[in-house]
Structures are given as C-alpha cells and as structure tokens.
Symmetry: D2
C-alpha cells in the first residue's frame, strides 16, 4: 500500500512539489529488453507543457526529463526506472500571500486539516505540476502496450458547449490549443475562453479518452475491474469531479433493449453492433474501443474575489494572482491519456500472470 | 494485490458464485474490542434481500449471515472476521440454456475471453449476488465508524425521471420499494417500473449516497484520494457506468466563481457556504457531507430478444428467462451505502496510522 | 496490505481460530482451467493431521476440506477458491484455566498487549491449527507448479541430534512418524521423544525443505527476493526461530573460494559443481535445487511448571495440561513444504507477468 | 505490490544501479511535522561509506544525500520524501571484462536468466551500493521511532571466530573498523582479515542487531509477524544466507522448560527472567529487546581464480579484479540496523491504525 503509487505490476510512484528543486517518479515492474530513451518520453511531456498558448499558465518550464536508472544501452533492464524533471521556474514570491490563507476550491484547507502543515508554495504537492510525472509514466506504459494499442484523448465539452460528434476529426485535436476534435467548436471556444480569462474567471470541461486495439481480457473482477481502475485513475487527476464509461450517466435513461450491445458473427469473428458498454463488460475488456470521459471543474484560482478564512481563524477575501490556466481541463487531456495507458499496461501484466 | 479484495487496512475479500453452495467474505484489519454480532449485520442484508417486492428478482434467499471467526464473547478480537451466507434458492435449471450463449450486456463473453471457462449458472462470479457480501462488510465498517457517521443512500433518478430536490425526505426512503426520497416521484416510478416489467424491458437509475459526520482529513493524496477510492468503489458495483462527486459532471458547465465553496467563520468554526465539492478537496475530506452519485445501466437480462452469438460461433437470439430485477439500480442503494462505509472505514484507519 | 494474507499474485488469506466453528482460507489469483478437487488437497492435510501417532497431539480432527467456490465442473475458473474445514474436536474445557493466565513462550501475553482481548480457547488465532489452511493452500500451489516441480521436506535434527547426510533416503521420510530421512536417526528419535513426552518436556527441531525442478528466474529483486520471501514464509510458521538458505549460517565460516559454486558447461548446459547457494543467487532462482532449513523451538506447552503472571498482575505457576505435541517440529514438515510451494507459485506468476 | 519497495505504511522504494548517474529512494507514508534535514541522515550514511579503512572497498564515494521533496521549512509534510545520492566514483573500466562473464556466487547468471539483459557495470542493480538507500531510509525511520527506541548492531562473528559475550562493550563497536563489541576479538580479526585480503580471499560474518525500547504490540499475525518481516528484511540484504531471532537455531537443541522465558511481577510491572524469544512472541513484540542475527557469506569477488562460464557458453576462469571488501559483512552492520528501524517504523504505523 502506498499513498503515492498507482498500478500494481506496472507500478508508478511519484514525488515532488510544485516549487521544490525537482519532481520525479519511479516506475517499477517494467518488462526488460524494451527500447527506451528520453526521446520516447519527451514528446508527451511537451504536449502537456504549460506556456504554449495564452490559454495555459505562463509558467515556463522546460520539463526536460532524465532517465536515472533502469535503462542500459538503450534497453530497459527490468529494474526500476527513475525519471526526474528539474523545476526551473518556481517563483515563490507569487504565492507569498497565500501562506496563511485557504483558497476556496483548493486543497489548502484540507491539507492543513489532515497534516497540520503544508508546503503552500504553488500548491505544493497538490499542484497539477505532479501530473507531468503521470504523463512521463504514461509514455513508458505506451512502450509496453506497443504500437497496436492507440490511446487518444480530446476535449469534448468546454463550459456548457459540447462538440458535435459528427464533426469529429482526430487530426484536428493536434491543430488547436484545446485538444478539440471539432474545428467549429474550437473556434467558439477561443472566444469563450478569452472572455473567461479577461474576466478573471474560469470554465470547466469534459475530456474523452479512447483506447483502440487494447486486447480483450484486461481487468480482474471483482475488485480490480478495468472500469473501476479507470474510474480511480481519472478521478484522481486534479480537479476531476466525475467519470463515466461508454454510455455513462446517459445509460440510466435508456431501456435494456436499447443499451445492450448486440453481437453477431462476421467473417468468423465476433462483432458488436454498438458500444454503449465502452468496451468493458463485467469489468473486463471485450476488444471494442475503451471509452472513458471525465469532468473537470473550473479552475479554482481566479481573479474574482471569494470569501474565505485564514489559518488564524479570520474571515478574509481571496484573489489568486499567480499564473494559472483559465481552464485546467485543457492540460488534463494528455494526463487522461497517460492514466489510461498506465491502467492498461498494468492490467496487461496482471492478465498474463494469471492467464499465460 | 488481490483481485477480489478491496480496502487496505480495513480489507475485505469476497468469494463465491451465484449458484455455488455459499458466498462469503473475510474482513481483515478490523480493530479489536468492538461489540459485533450477526444482529448488527443482518438488518442491512435484509434491506438488500431480493424478493421483497414485485420490483426485484423473485429469487428467495434468506441471506442469513453467520460469523465464523474474529469475534469472541461478542467482541471483535482484531483477527480476521469470516462471514458466510448459504445459497438456498439456486435453481440452475433456469439458466441451462445460457451455458453456451453470450448474453448481450452481460459478462458472459468477457469472462470467456479472459479465462476460457466460466461458471454460467446465474452469472457465476459476475452475479450481483456477490454484493450481499459488500453489504455485510459495510455493516462492520459502520461499527468502526461509530454512530456519529451516518451513511445513507437514495435513488434519485429512475430511467429519465428525477426526484425533485425540494421534496427530499430521508424518511420516505424507507417507506417505498424504490429507496426514493420524493413521495411523488415514487408514485410515478411505480407505474413506470410496472410498465417496464410487463413489457419485458428494464430501466436504469442514478443513486446518491451521502455520508454525514465523517471526520476531516480522510483521503491520502496523490493516489489514494478519497474521491478516487470512492469512484473505484462505486464503479466496481455491477452495472455501474458513471460516478460523480458533489457537483459532478455539472461542474464542467460552471464558472470558477460559482463552483468555489466559500468559507467563513461562525462561532469559532469554519463553515462552508455551499458544497459543490461534495465534501472533498484535493482528495481529502473537509468535514462537509460527502456526496457521491452513480449511474446504473438498465438490467441486461430482459425478455425482449436480442441478437448475439454462442460459444460455437453461431448467430443466435437471446431471451433471458431467469428471475431478474427490472431495475438493478434499486438494490444498488444499500450496496452503494456499504461501499461508502467501507471506503471511509479504511481511510479512517489509514489516516490515524500516519496522523496519530 | 493484509495481515492475514500471504503471496501477491497467488494470494492466500486465512481465517479462523482453534476452537471456533471452522477454519478456512480464500485463494485468489489461481489460474483458470486447472483440474482441482478436494481429493487433490485432502492427502496433504492427512499428512499433517494430528493424532496419527503418540508423538503428536491427541486432538482428533478429520480435517475434511470442502471447496466452496472457484471450481466449476472440476476445473478452476480463475475466481477465488474458498476452502473450509469444520472444527470437530474443540474441547474448550481443557483450556478453561488459561483464560486469565499468560503461558510462557506462548502468544497469550503479546496478544493481550496488542489487542487488549484474546480468544484464549486453545490459543485462538495463534494456534498451530491455522497451519492446516497453509497446507491446503500449498496443495493448490502444487497444482499450479505442475508435476515437474517437486517440493519435499524432512526433519534433519531433533533436539541436538542430527541425521547423517550419508544415510539420506527420501522414501524413509514416509515410513516413520518423524519425517526423518535417516532410518537410524529415526530409531534414536523414537527413544528420545518418548522420554521427553513422559518427562512432560518437549524438544525442538530443524526442518529442511527442498524444491527440485523449479524454473530459473523466480524471485524479484530487490525487495521480493526469492530467499527473502522464503525467509518470511518459514519464519512466520508457529514456533520458528531461524531460517537459512543453502549453506546458511555455516557460510559465515567459509572462505570465498570455498563458498562459490563453480560453473561449467556440460552437453551444452550450464552445470554447477556445488550448491552452497541453495539454488538462489541475487534473490533469483538459478535452476539448482532450492534448499531451505528452519529451526523450531521446543513446544512451549509442557507439563513442567513454569513461573508466570496472570491478567490481574499476580505471580503464578503454569502447567499446560491440554493435548499437545512433544515436538511441534514434526508437523511443521508438511507446513514448510506448503509454504515453499506457495512462494514458488506466487513467484511463477509474478515472473511471467514481467517476463512473458 | 512492488518488487523494489519494502514496508507498507512506512514504505520505501529504492532505485539505481552501481554505475548509473545516481541512486535514490522515495519514502512514502512518513508522518508529518517531524524535524528532518540532511544532517539527520548523513551520519548514518557516513558510517556505511566505503573507503574508510583498508578493510572495505577503496571506491571513494562522498555519499552525500539530498532531500528533494517531502520536507518544508525543516519539517516533514506527510508527502513523499525523495532522497538522492550522486554516484561520483563509478569506474566502469574496472569491470569491462565481466560484461560477458558470469562470476560465481554473483547475481550475473541469475539476472541473465531472468531478464535476458543486465547492467553488468559493477553489478548494476544487484550491487551492494543499493544498500546506501536502505541506510538513508533507516535514518528517517529512526526519526519516526524517536529517541526512546535504540537500534544498534555489531559484528559477532568473523569467519569462524566469535566474540566473547562477556566482553561485550557497545562503545567498542564505534572504535574499531569491524563494528566489533569485543576489543580482543577486534585485535584477532585485524590479523585475520589482513591475511584474507592479502591472499585474495574473503571471509563471512555474523551480525547481531538489537532494538531496545521498542513498544510492545508491534507485529500483525498471521502473515505480517514482526519476526517474519524482520527475516525478510535481513535475508534481502546482499549476501545474507541465514536469519535468526533470539535463541535462533540453538533453540532447536533446547528443552521446552529451558527455552521458555519465565515472567514475574516486579514493582507492578511484568518482567522476564530471560530472552530466548528475542523479544517476540506469536509474531508480536513483548517490550523486551528485539534481537536478530544474520549470516553473511564471504565476498564472492575474490582474486582467487574460479571456474565459470560465459554468455557464449564457454568454460572460463574468473578472477575479480575490481575494488571489493574482503568481508562484506562489515558494512552490513549499518544496513542491518537500518532494516530493523524500517521494519519497526512500519509496524508502529500499522499497529496504531488498528489499535488507536
């Protein structure tokens, strides 16, 4: 049991604070003899990196990852892989006024209640900066899964504005700063997000992550169901408030005959007529695309003043002046993909242990 | 690591199949010197027991629990508590025709893919019968949490019909067969569910579980966040397709200033002006009520014929004739409560280990 | 994490007290489609069963095992296997006088210190009765390992009297009540143990367990080394005070050049010239026989009066009158074998997860 | 589950290879608000550091530890503590000839069998260099245990030469390069070890570690017994072949009446007349000193040529020319202490979770 580890056989332990000297993770259980170098990890980190458009925090981090162990002559050895990123742009002065304040919607108050102490610089351990290591671990998970498994994410809702499913274009996701698969929605969102940013406000979002090509049989009932592990993985991302699989909450409003995915034989293979299940039945993958969505609340760090209290028990008003994202949901896309990849890699190893 | 265990310090391992001789669980880590007897567990099982109204399966099970270990002279001893329930009404003949069939929406196909074998009698291990042991374990978790923590659940949506929040009455939940807190919705649902049942169809549902009085500080960032563990716990219940905390998916459509729960001092204590967060910030409980909702898909076992395939690779049509619930969501209410209680008990132990 | 479970992928959770209604275990992670029935387990339990000679406790237990789940039509299904044995001869009256006494060398005092309560009937949870479930689990582990892996144990020292290595005959182990591989030592031990029994005394023993045919590569450095896991497995058996691998403590007195096992090629295969290492290098099996020895202290339950204290804080004298083994080491032989089998099965699954 | 982690609530994950850029560990679960700085860790590392006498490897490492996370303004925060040590004196050229050779008694061959690849530079992951991080983690464990718990180790046997118990002086341990508590034995050992070194040979050793002041109640039966966890902890140290608690293997030769530690009341407290049990009964600490001994085999890296094979399947002769310790047992003393501290800290947290 470890508070800061996830996965079991592909096991990732992360460490580090927003404004400490560095952040890192240790990946244990990676199979040996896989080609792995920093260049396999860096592109995924670059996708998540802040400061790439006016819609993400202006903190400038190179986010350059180094492999400190577990790789020899370009190949994994089966021993733990230690990854490290230096923090280079941690301006603690931006945060000085929050040392004694509890920002509404932040973890300040709950960390204080739990530990009686907190590293208040930039949110400390509760900062989304930690998600960089999830993305790095996800890159290693992708190497384990191999090229036949494709994990992709997209923003499908910004505030109350959803993409049109009919306009979906995965290529478009890489062409706009919103990871938006619908070119028209992207145009609307630019206006919307600019307005929120200028108003010192923020908006929420919904992200969808899809894994294609994942082998059937992943997931171990009853308490290591694939959907349950995905739910924990996504809900554990900063600011996430909801997770759904396949049809999700909409399934509640369907009839049994409409929700069941019918099967038939085609060229000797089983085919499904639909995918309400999101690729998972009884907690086990069926071979259909695995579809997960999660909701991200609007950034809690806003310029609009909010009522709060301080450590001394006084009523105060809080305005968060630091560098922040008007929609943290944007950068949650690569993080959600990484968590999906990690969960699948872990279950791949678990599955073959029991079912060789 | 265990596929069939949940929790870490309050750890429950369940076993058993729908039509085996019995089902059971082992609870490890329960603190010693707590008064515990079968009578503390049985009422919660009775609440979940099938066959109590025409809206649940007509399978007749006494669901009488026996404590086989871990309790001495009416007190827990700190050693593992073994609970066992005999299966008394397992009519395998009802299911004979499904031995070679894959029922759409069921775990038949995925178990077959994973294990190459499955106990097809009544769904075997994937049957909701297993949830009886979750309810039993939840009863023990409630003893650990003590009377100051109150965990209650209710059905808040049946099909596409939601309760009115203004009509909420916890007392009503115990008075209708739907666990519905809104007397008027309950009346509508009776008609709706009768219609679905007679049509050989089924409907989905949304359940809300609320824990009041839970101490602050529960939940261990980063990968044992209280909300992430709750998400896994609920998503792991049979037929669940979505989980949300507090405002949930609706938070995506809110502005930062509307979603933040403001704080102020009142009589020397910190008070929140709202509870969009659902009682959890940064993965840690704040002392506010902890609010979780989850969506249950419509029962997959329906009389309406659906296209499918069999083990031999032939196209077939499946009609499920066994005894089933037209809305499995109903009996998910006590199960959801139990999972909440188990997660809280586990985190209570975890918290005091690190923060004495 | 679980106090009452061992193994990770082949995971066994035991429950039950000496004088409760039954004892049992849940085996999680067993691969599917293995032929398994009670008749595969019962013979191993019979080997350990008390009351078979005048040298073991006269408690009469049938130790009849029942499989309650996880097996369908004679094959494992991959779901948890629940095993149960009824306690039939629990005479609590024999133990009535120890309810308030702390027997020297027993767990009475330490359980009281830890839990503030204990089931004193026959030692409760700390009774060696629990080891019956280890033997049952070991039988399932043997099925996983298959016929090419042979795990056998023998008593190599009774009190201060050791077997002659030159007389070793595995067949002899099954022919005397001491699991002794040396027919001459067995004759001496009969006299010795009769004397101890009649004197109301007891003696210790050393057991050796050897696994032949185990595949190389088992064991996961750094903290799941095969030898470390074997050490925990054996030290966790009741009354064990020491564990050693291969040359063991004698290795301390050797020179480097004498202790190193030289290797050479023979018919294209690597051969070792000796096995001081006991089949394990760097925590990983090499393919040589895996050799473990463990020391069992003399039974603490003796007729000779010993000074002690009671719960009320009074000096007392304790004489243990119950039915006991004059040498608990005898029945530790099948238990040690079972633990070896369980550790190897667990590591076999772990190994193939990472190294497919 | 993690191959490279130990402990459960006080959980340490180590990473790094002998000749990589650095080694490190992540400590998860440390309680908050403990004063901690590098200066609390460095002295323990200095005790273990190589190159301090002619009896340890001449590799020169500063072993300067840095805290990268988990500490804020001199206090632990409850978040993961990341520790890092740069490798500064890794001369890979010394080892070039062993890339394709399997050194007898080393992990070369077994790593190759398991992973099909190994970092052969200085033993890679299997090098005793990893134990530096155990010592660092042990220093943090000591902070958790507090000043009332005293964990000390000593070398009690070098080759076949044991200390006289009557000469025991803990102060002497710090005054000679052998951690020897017997001044006369130390004088003999100097001669003995010089001779072995000059002969290109090596000798084994036995280490004893004693914890005084540990609270009673630590250890969780049945499968997290304190002695079982200590056995795994010690057996997992490089080159260890045997572990014993209290009387250990000698207990096998005792009679029940001689081995039982009698108890009596003294000034209202329970006192033991002896400590054959080594402070542990039924897997739980009693409050007596906890006594563990472990045997270390003679260093496998010797100048005396030994027969072996290479990766290509040829018979070869191996002479290890690198910088090595003539007795690896010497530096195992601080490592054994650290493992004892880590096990106790973990069980302290576990105990108070269940028994508040």
């Amino acid at each position: 049991m470890s508070h800061n580890s996830f996965g079991h056989l592909f096991r990732v332990t992360t460490w580090g604070e927003s404004h400490g000297p560095s952040i890192g993770c240790v990946i244990d259980g990676c199979p040996p003899r896989l080609a792995l170098a920093e260049r396999d990890i860096q592109p995924w980190l670059d996708r998540r990196r802040p400061g790439q458009s006016r819609f993400t925090t202006q903190r400038r981090e190179a986010d350059e990852v180094r492999i400190l162990s577990g790789v020899f002559e370009g190949m994994t050895t089966g021993t733990p892989i230690s990854l490290l990123i230096e923090n280079t742009d941690q301006r603690s002065r931006d945060y000085g006024d929050i040392a004694a304040q509890f920002r509404p919607g932040h973890a300040d108050y709950s960390y204080e209640l739990k530990y009686g102490i907190r590293d208040w610089r930039g949110g400390g351990r509760s900062s989304a900066r930690e998600t960089a290591m999830r993305v790095a671990a996800g890159a290693v998970a992708r190497v384990i899964l191999g090229p036949s498994v494709r994990v992709r994410g997209a923003l499908v809702q910004l505030g109350d504005d959803r993409v049109e499913r009919g306009n979906w274009d995965w290529g478009e996701v890489e062409r706009n700063p919103f990871f938006c698969p619908d070119v028209r929605a992207a145009a609307r969102w630019e206006v919307k997000l600019d307005a929120a940013r200028k108003a010192g406000s923020s908006v929420g979002a919904v992200i969808e992550v899809v894994a294609e090509g994942a082998p059937p049989g992943l997931g171990a009932p009853i308490y290591a169901k694939l959907d349950a592990d995905l739910a924990a993985a996504m809900m554990g991302i900063n600011a996430v408030k909801g997770v759904e699989i396949g049809e999700g909450f909409a399934a509640a409003a369907l009839r049994g005959e409409d929700n069941a995915d019918e099967m038939h034989m085609q060229d000797g293979l089983v085919r499904f007529g639909s995918n309400h299940a999101g690729g998972i039945l009884g907690g086990i993958s069926t071979g259909q695309p695995i579809v997960v969505r999660f909701a991200v609340k609007p950034t809690s760090s806003i310029l609009t003043p909010r009522a709060s209290v301080d450590r001394g028990g006084h009523d105060i008003e809080v305005v968060t002046k630091g560098r922040h994202d008007p929609c943290v949901g944007l950068r949650a896309v690569p993080v959600g993909e990484a968590m999906m990849a990690c969960v699948l890699a872990d279950h791949l190893l678990r599955h073959r242990a029991q079912n060789p």
